[in-house]
């Protein structure tokens, strides 16, 4: 009789608990989805592998997390929002998250938040100040940056971002939206008033459909979009500063090892991404008649399109 995956995971966890006595068992929960999660998973595994045989890593899809969590692992690393949500709801400790766009929405600490016992993580969020600094270099003539956001979700972040923008001599014009359907309406109203659009990490605004529409509207109106991930840049955003998934995963693995090594209940603050990648779409720049400096192009980790269309 074939064993189903959850049952198999439970069985393996039980066997490991008995047979590998003295080893730390780390449950690696991985959300399904973008390739970035795979890269982050690889980073986690690489970090844990550095400890050698004293660490037993169990990789389980987020969908099968319940059974694996029942095996009482010594630590849980959750890659992606789905895995983090399941582990948080299960009360898994110690818990380290990675590749979670909005940890606060899951009750997890974000960088800059007070540390919680046995809970930590590595955020994808690049500091707004750094983003605006990069944007400033990309678009020296830009003065007004527009942003759409759900105040209930991203209100504090926008407020801090506005301050960061001002420090760069930019005016962040924030337009609140209440739901997904309001995004394009507000975008049409916003675009004529701004020099560029900042697509911040707001789950209400940046749905897949809205993201593409927002980029297209911006291009039609001659306004570049500054995004938060490499994928947006491939789809037409001018540029993005995004966390390196592998580096995020590696750092998350290291944090997990730190929590295993530390006394139970130790609190470690959440960390920003250890490495930030710059992506630039030169085709978009060309369409928008933007001339990018050679220096920043050299700094870029990814230039799109990779072959000249």
């Amino acid at each position: 009789m074939p064993l189903r995956a959850p049952a198999l995971a439970s069985l393996m966890a039980a066997l490991l608990a008995v047979a590998a006595d003295g080893q730390d068992r780390v449950l690696l929960l991985v959300s399904g989805g973008p390739e970035a999660y795979r890269r982050a998973e690889a980073g986690v595994r690489a970090a844990l592998a550095a400890r050698g045989s004293s660490i037993e890593v169990q990789v389980v899809p987020a969908e099968d997390a319940q059974a694996a969590l029942a095996g009482k692992p010594d630590a849980v690393v959750a890659v992606g929002a789905k895995a983090a949500e399941v582990a948080q709801r299960a009360g898994a400790r110690p818990l380290v998250y990675a590749m979670v766009l909005d940890p606060r929405a899951l009750g997890l600490p974000a960088p800059g938040d007070p540390a919680q016992p046995a809970v930590s993580g590595v955020s994808m969020e690049v500091a707004a100040a750094r983003q605006f600094e990069t944007f400033r270099r990309l678009l020296p003539a830009a003065r007004i940056i527009g942003v759409l956001h759900d105040p209930a979700v991203s209100g504090p972040a926008v407020r801090s971002a506005a301050a960061a923008a001002r420090s760069q001599g930019l005016d962040l014009r924030a337009v609140p939206v209440r739901d997904e359907g309001e995004v394009l309406v507000q975008a049409r109203l916003l675009l004529p008033q701004v020099d560029a659009v900042w697509a911040m990490a707001d789950p209400v605004v940046l749905t897949p459909a809205n993201a593409r529409a927002l980029i297209l509207l911006s291009l039609r109106s001659g306004k570049p979009v500054l995004a938060i991930s490499d994928g947006f840049v491939r789809s037409g955003a001018l540029a993005a500063l995004s966390a390196d998934p592998e580096a995020v995963g590696r750092r998350a693995g290291e944090v997990a090892l730190s929590l295993l090594d530390a006394p139970p209940g130790r609190a470690l603050p959440a960390e920003p991404p250890p490495r930030v990648s710059l992506s630039i779409n030169v085709a978009t720049a060309k369409n928008l008649s933007l001339v990018l400096s050679p220096e920043i192009l050299r700094e870029a980790d990814g230039v799109y399109p990779r072959s000249t269309p």
Binding site: P192, I215, L216, N287, P305
Partner: protein, 627 residues
């Protein structure tokens, strides 16, 4: 298939075939055009959608996204290839199928080209929600999308539909053919039966009938046909009955005509014979009478008496023959034939009662009178009644005689019917011949019916005979109803009376005859009556005597003489000796001759019918002597 089926079903089938064919062709064409239009519209929408979706990847140079987009489009089974080229015509993305397959002469590929554009600025008036081209203006070309669509599946669907349409058409044709066949069977079979029945009726079989149980038009037609056949049968039966009746009437008329002709010929013969017998019989009668008077010896007297009786018997026979053959007009009055019947029945009533025979009368009360000789017709009725009476008596069978009168169709019918032995078929055609009799020898002369025939013929009528052996005999006298001619007196003209003439002691009598024996006999008789007889032989001699101016008290003149007949003598006498005109007495046996009878009736002079005996001659001479 019969003609009706050909005339009805074949045109219907041809029209139906043409209609179905046209409908199938039109429908197939419509289906093909519709399917192609649908495909074109669908793929056009697909191309437009792809072109719109390609806008962002083209702007972003995202060939991967463009490739995913085209691969997504390529999942459409009708899409053979999608290629996107940039504004310079360089291939940006595609499914890798640059050439579309072709099959046969028909292009199986639909090529759609759709420009990929983008807006250079937002239209402030555009819809805030729209992302399509209408919301962006003016547009800037980014490239071209070329969509190759296979028509194979559409063609296959169209072919399948055409096949289904064709099958449906064939099924419809088959259904209509079945309906047509059934209709022809339903309508044609009764009609064939009608045709066959009509042919049989034409061939004379009026008993044929057709089945007509249905309530539709065919059933109605069948019932009408049956009624027509019944009517035809009834009419043919009636016609046959009429023909048979007419044939019987015609046969009777023919028989009557033959009988009439035969009797007419017999009458002429009889008249001639009687005339030839008249003169010798007159002499025999006369001298036998004279000898009887003169003879004293008893034995001789007895023998002479026998001669006289036989001569008188011969005289009666000759008179009867003349009565049968005579054509002299009857003495007519407006006769009541019911009265004639009543009087005749009264004559025979007592005799018949004594013979246990019932004599019944059935007389039409309002029987019209007719211009006829009452006495003669009474004689006819009496003769027929006596015949019936004798027939019943002779065979001892029957007890009833009925005399009827009826008026119909312008004629009076007097029927004398008895329930006696009937008349054999062989005897019916000879009943009216003189001397033909079915009675026992000595019971009749065989002249009764002949005389009746003659009398009735004189009235323009006829006598019909109907009989069935051992059942009945019926003689019907048919007399045309005749009105009294204008100028005729209601009663018969009285017999001409001899003019008064003073008697002389010795009368002179001029006797004119061509027969010497008759002259001798008349002279002997009149000489014995103290008359002075001046006999002359023939008309010329008589005229010569008259021309000499001799006076006569009586001129007894024969009518038929070889040189000059009595009429010539009479005309001479009227012209030259008018004082003797009313002294003329004609003696003739030629009363049956119509010319003679007419002449005699016109003179009004008395006639001494030959053969006459001594008493008749003396009586007439005495009558003349008293004048």
């Amino acid at each position: 298939m019969n003609r009706l089926a050909v005339r009805i079903v074949l045109p219907f089938a041809l029209v139906l075939l043409a209609t179905c064919g046209l409908a199938a062709w039109t429908l197939g064409r419509s289906v093909r055009q519709g399917a192609l239009a649908d495909l074109r519209e669908r793929t056009s929408l697909l191309a437009q959608g792809l072109a719109r979706s390609a806008e962002l990847p083209m702007l972003a140079g995202d060939s991967a996204a463009l490739g995913e987009l085209l691969e997504e489009a390529g999942r459409d089974p009708d899409v053979l290839d999608v290629t996107v080229v940039d504004a310079a015509g360089r291939r940006v993305a595609g499914l890798g199928k640059p050439e579309a397959p072709r099959r046969g002469r028909t292009a199986t590929v639909l090529v759609l080209e759709e420009p990929v554009r983008t807006a250079s600025a937002l239209d402030p008036e555009g819809s805030a929600f729209a992302l399509d081209g209408g919301a962006a203006t003016p547009e800037r070309p980014l490239g071209q999308l070329r969509l190759l669509v296979s028509l194979a599946r559409t063609e296959a669907r169209v072919h399948a539909l055409e096949k289904q349409i064709g099958l449906a058409g064939i099924a419809l044709l088959a259904l209509c053919a079945a309906i047509g066949w059934a209709t022809v069977r339903l309508v044609g079979r009764p009609l064939r039966q009608l045709v066959e029945a009509t042919e049989r009726i034409t061939a004379g079989d009026l008993a044929v009938r057709v089945a007509a149980s249905s309530t539709d038009e065919v059933g109605t037609l069948g019932r009408a046909f049956n009624r027509m056949a019944e009517d035809l049968a009834a009419e043919r039966s009636e016609l046959e009955r009429r023909v048979e009746a007419r044939t019987v009437e015609l046969r009777r008329a023919q028989e009557t005509l033959v009988q009439t002709e035969k009797l007419s010929a017999v009458g002429q013969l009889v008249a001639g014979v009687a005339h030839e017998l008249n003169n010798p019989l007159t002499v025999v009668l006369g001298y036998a009478g004279l000898l009887v008077e003169k003879t004293k010896e008893e034995e001789t007297r007895r023998k002479l008496q026998t001669v006289l009786q036989e001569a008188q018997r011969s005289q009666k026979i000759v008179q009867n023959l003349l009565a049968f053959a005579r054509r002299q007009p009857p003495a007519r009055t407006e006769a009541d034939l019911n009265d004639a019947v009543a009087r005749t029945v009264a004559l025979r009533a007592y005799q018949l009662r004594s013979e246990k025979i019932r004599l019944e009368t059935d007389l039409q009360p309002d029987l019209p009178r007719t211009w006829a000789d009452f006495q003669q017709l009474q004689q006819v009725i009496l003769n027929l009644v006596v015949n019936a009476e004798q027939a019943i008596q002779e065979c001892g069978r029957g007890s009833r005689i009925v005399v009827r009168t009826r008026a119909a169709s312008g004629a009076i019918r007097i029927e004398v019917e008895d329930d006696g032995p009937g008349i054999p078929e062989s005897a019916r055609t000879r009943l009216f011949e003189p001397f033909f009799s079915t009675k026992d020898v000595g019971k009749g002369t065989g002249l009764g019916l002949s005389i009746c025939w003659g009398l009735v013929s004189e009235h323009g009528g006829t006598i019909e005979v109907d009989s069935a052996l051992n059942r009945f005999s019926r003689f019907t006298v048919v007399l045309p109803i005749q009105a009294r001619p204008a100028g005729e007196a209601a009663e018969a003209k009285p017999q001409a009376a001899l003019p008064a003439h003073p008697a002389t002691p010795r009368r002179r009598v001029l006797v004119v005859d061509d027969d010497r024996a008759v002259l001798q006999f008349v002279g002997d008789v009149l000489e014995r009556s103290r008359a002075e007889v001046h006999p002359v032989q023939g008309g010329r001699e008589a005229i010569a005597c008259l021309a000499r101016g001799e006076a006569y008290d009586v001129v007894l003149c024969d009518l038929r003489m070889p040189d000059l007949d009595g009429s010539a003598v009479f005309r001479y006498l009227c012209a030259h000796r008018p004082e003797l005109e009313e002294r003329v007495v004609f003696a003739t046996g030629d009363l049956a001759n119509e010319t003679s009878a007419t002449f005699l009736e016109g003179t009004g002079r008395p006639v001494l019918a030959k053969p006459f005996d001594v008493d008749a001659l003396r009586a007439l001479v005495e009558q003349v002597e008293r004048v």
